[in-house]
């Protein structure tokens, strides 16, 4: 998903870049006057069919900047980009689907500090809304630009809900639970046929970070990991109780037989799951793969005791930056700037791939034509309580450590919740300390 999004975002960015070029030819002529011709490369996680559109947009960019030829490499992922930078074979511009790596790239200089470029071109931080602004910076150094964001919410199958007598989507967790149980169907041997809401950890988009906003759960307290909180405990207890109701093994079998998240046999698109947590890109996928599906979107339900949080969600997004090994940083900056900062382009990209544009200007752009169902995610993006995961020096390691414990707790292998959470905190703190070891304070 993120891959598709990332690619779409990149495409959008390039389209924006291209249209941006067209719109302000004079200033661009001045720029390309200073910046010489070059062959640059950009790596993106997109694959076909989005890669085709992406390449078309790159072609537009090349037309607007004669002399700059861009080689597009699709199908990359974070591991490859990280490995390439370390191996010295990195591209001139790199796009990552995960903002987590900002904490690894910035302090080490793997991606260069974009501050000087931004100052020179008069691009200011404030064009980005708060969350994207934060997840593309680390300790004050901006080494990446946000480029299209993802927000998460609830998708629900209107047909299945209507059959069970529901007209509206759930707003609280207890409503979600009750509806999920009623919407679940089993076949004659007891196997799950239709699942009301699948609480299985790490299935499709069910990672802890996505559930956090509904309980107001946070990750850090200052410098230290702070997962041992009532908010997380409540969230995990709820998830476990629903899993136990379904039967852990039953869910494993259901998941093993369900389609792949990004295939046409996606469980929600084929009506096997009635309610589902997913990102805004799913709107475009449904339009392409299951156009007859009658569905609706809404913000994800919130905990019963936190109802004022309703309307918020989780946000993350792609980032783009310039690896320090690039030999054509000026040209790379042009490309990156187009991808990250042009309002019209972001709006067009959003229309094409249904991702959330990441500048306040693009959010208000008259060119923005969201598909029905997409507005929910724009609203979530604008909500003041929408949160993201904090950027740390250890990248995604803290989330993976947490997830490792979560899957053990939810399966019943580990029973002490608070003790386990405290242990995870200790581990993450130790990892953070390790990452800092030996550095002058």
């Amino acid at each position: 998903m993120a891959r598709v999004l990332g690619m779409l975002s990149l495409l959008l960015a390039l389209t924006l870049a291209a249209s941006g070029c067209g719109g302000s030819k004079k200033s661009d002529k001045a720029d390309s006057g200073e910046v010489g011709p070059a062959n640059i490369s950009i790596w993106t996680p997109f694959v076909d069919p989005e890669l085709k559109t992406f390449k078309a947009v790159v072609a537009d960019f090349e037309k607007a900047h004669p002399g700059i030829h861009v080689k597009v490499v699709g199908g990359t992922n974070d591991d490859k980009i990280v490995a390439a930078i370390r191996g010295g074979n990195a591209p001139d511009v790199a796009q990552s689907f995960s903002s987590d790596n900002t904490g690894a790239f910035c302090p080490s200089g793997a991606w260069i500090d974009l501050g000087p470029y931004m100052e020179k071109d008069g691009v200011d931080d404030s064009i980005f809304p708060e969350a994207p602004r934060d997840y593309s910076k680390f300790e004050g150094t901006r080494c990446a630009l946000p480029m299209l964001a993802d927000t998460y919410g609830l998708y629900y199958n209107k047909t299945l809900l209507a059959k069970a007598g529901y007209k509206n989507p759930p707003k609280t967790i207890s409503q979600l639970t009750a509806m999920a149980k009623k919407l679940t169907q089993r076949d004659s041997s007891g196997k799950l046929k239709v699942v009301g809401f699948n609480p299985f950890p790490s299935w499709y988009e069910n990672v802890p970070a996505h559930f956090a906003p509904s309980w107001g759960a946070t990750w850090m307290d200052g410098d230290k990991s702070a997962l041992n909180t009532p908010a997380w405990a409540d969230q995990l207890r709820w998830q476990k109780s629903l899993i136990d109701w379904y039967g852990y093994d039953n869910l494993v079998r259901f998941d093993a037989g369900a389609g792949d998240e990004f295939s046409e046999s996606n469980a929600f698109e084929t009506g096997k799951v009635a309610m589902h947590m997913d990102g805004e890109w799913r709107v475009a996928f449904i339009k392409r793969e299951a156009p007859k599906l009658s569905y609706g979107t809404a913000p994800f339900p919130v905990a019963d005791d936190k109802q004022d949080l309703y309307g918020a969600g989780y946000v993350t997004g792609s980032i783009i930056g310039i690896p320090k090994t690039s030999k054509h940083k000026d040209q790379a900056w042009l490309l990156a700037r187009y991808l990250g900062a042009n309002a019209n382009a972001l709006a067009k990209l959003s229309n094409g791939i249904q991702n959330v544009p990441t500048t306040t200007a693009s959010l208000k752009s008259p060119l923005l034509k969201p598909l029905p169902g997409f507005q929910t995610f724009l609203d979530v993006f604008g909500n003041a309580n929408t949160t993201t995961t904090p950027i740390t020096r250890i990248g995604a390691a803290n989330q993976e450590t947490f997830q490792s414990f979560v899957s053990k707790y939810l399966s019943g292998s580990k029973k002490d919740l608070e003790g386990g959470l405290a242990g995870v905190d200790k581990q993450i703190d130790a990892q953070l300390k390790q990452a800092q070891a030996g550095q002058a304070p």
């Binding site: 998903m1 993120a2 891959r3 974070d78 591991d79 990280v82 490995a83 930078i85 370390r86 191996g87 995960s98 987590d100 690894a104 080490s108 200089g109 793997a110 993802d150 790490s202 299935w203 499709y204 988009e205 069910n206 990672v207 970070a209 996505h210 093994d249 494993v252 079998r253 259901f254 998941d255 093993a256 037989g257 369900a258 792949d260 998240e261 990004f262 993350t316 995961t389 250890i394 990248g395 995604a396 390691a397 989330q399 993976e400 450590t401 997830q403 490792s404 899957s407 053990k408 399966s411 292998s413 242990g423 200790k426 581990q427 130790a430 390790q434 990452a435 070891a437 030996g438 550095q439």
Partner: protein
Amino acid sequence: MSPWILGFSVFFGYPLVMSAYLSFTHYDLLSSPRWIGLANYRYLFTTDQTIWPAVKNTLWFIAIAVPLQVLFALGIAIMLSRARRGIGLFRTIFYLPALAPPVAATLGFVYLLNPATGPVNTILGKVGIQGPLWFDSPQWSKPSLTLLALWGVGNTMIIFLAAVLDVPSHLYESAQLDGAGAISRLRWVTLPTISPVILFAVVIGVIEGLQYFTQAYVAANVAGGSASYSAEAANALGYPEDSTLFYPVLLYQQGFRYFNMGYASAMAMLLLAVSFAVTFVIVRNSRRFVHYQAPGR
């Protein structure tokens, strides 16, 4: 000789020394190594929670899967040696799976053992047994990998077959004259005679167990891959619940996904020590079981 000495020092001697050096540093390839003394080791032995599952998994494999493989190969070899006709055909059949590239074999097994749609559980279902979750269950994932390993014992089996067929027949004849039955002959003639080969198989098996990577990596990624494709934390290594997180897999993850190369080097040093210790223990104890044939009369 000289190319080899060069290669040896470049690819063996130098890396060993470098590994030791790096284990005392914090190194992520983006900047130069930072000396941190024993911090890596302290972290490894006291704080890291993923090390001990990794060590346990690898030790489990060595203690359970390797002996099973040896026994299984031996059993088939002995059965084959008794067969009078069609040895060639059977030998080929048992050897074929060992030829399958590990990635291919693993993919095949993960598909076959899919808890919901795989043929194995489907057939078990027809007989009325609800099949386990195989690669998706923390209790069954290592046994599933063991089954995969047993499928591929062809190499070992052929070595055993040759050794069994090599046992001098006069030994059997004398045993028979002394009134030994088939099982006694097996225990007192066959096994002792081929004991050096058994030792060889065990040592090789242990060495491979200490390096076990490919099948665990592929199986975890494929079985866990039906899970989230989320941009954040899409790491399925060790799926499910660290049960397939073997030591080499963890080392790879630390060194080449997180790029904690200093820490990975510390892990490598530990692996080195354990490899030596285990091999030493086996060879030491082998003197009790292994009979080297006296030079011919």
